[in-house]
């Protein structure tokens, strides 16, 4: 059964690479933010998967909860600053 989880983990990492492409390439700053959000959602899921493979879900769920909350704070801050900057430039 471990090979199945290895497959899941590898797939999630490859998907993170796809979002990374959007972060690197994305024409506007908002595309980059969206890509970053996609990566962090994957990271949350990935943490729980890692926890399941290690049989220590209790430990890893704590970090993924923290990730989810931090992600909110970071994304709101970024969106707010981008919004201010956009208004300045018009």
């Amino acid at each position: 059964m471990s090979s199945f989880f290895l497959f899941v983990l590898t797939t999630l990492t490859v998907l993170m690479l796809v979002y990374l492409y959007r972060v690197v390439r994305g024409p506007t700053a908002f595309d980059r933010v969206l890509g970053l959000n996609g990566i962090s959602t994957k990271a949350i899921v990935l943490l729980v998967v890692i926890g399941t493979t290690f049989d220590r879900v209790d430990m890893f769920v704590d970090i993924s909860t923290g990730y989810a909350l931090l992600n909110l704070v970071g994304a709101l801050a970024i969106a707010k600053f981008l919004e201010e900057r956009g208004e300045e430039r018009q």
Binding site: V18, Y19, Y21, L34, T41, T52, D58, V61, A68, R89
Partner: protein, 99 residues
Amino acid sequence: MSWLGIALIVIGLFFLVVGSIGMLRLPDVFSRAHALSVTDSLGALFVLLGLAVYEGFNTNFLRIIVVLGLIYLLNPVIAHATVRAAYRSGLRPGKGDDQ
């Protein structure tokens, strides 16, 4: 029970892959936000639900459900904040601003 979990995880992976393809193919910020919402709502839901079922019904099940609830409460806020910032800074959908 574990087979049900694995089936749910595979369904979730499908939606995650679809979300990534959408992230690559769709033309502008607003449409890409839709792809992200497919990933968040359905992909994360099925994968986490599958993991919870795979874990069996104990406290770990409840914890994974808590993470799921957080994703459901917080990710729409993030998507909305990003899209609103894009809207307010002058981007408009429809023309495909792929410079």
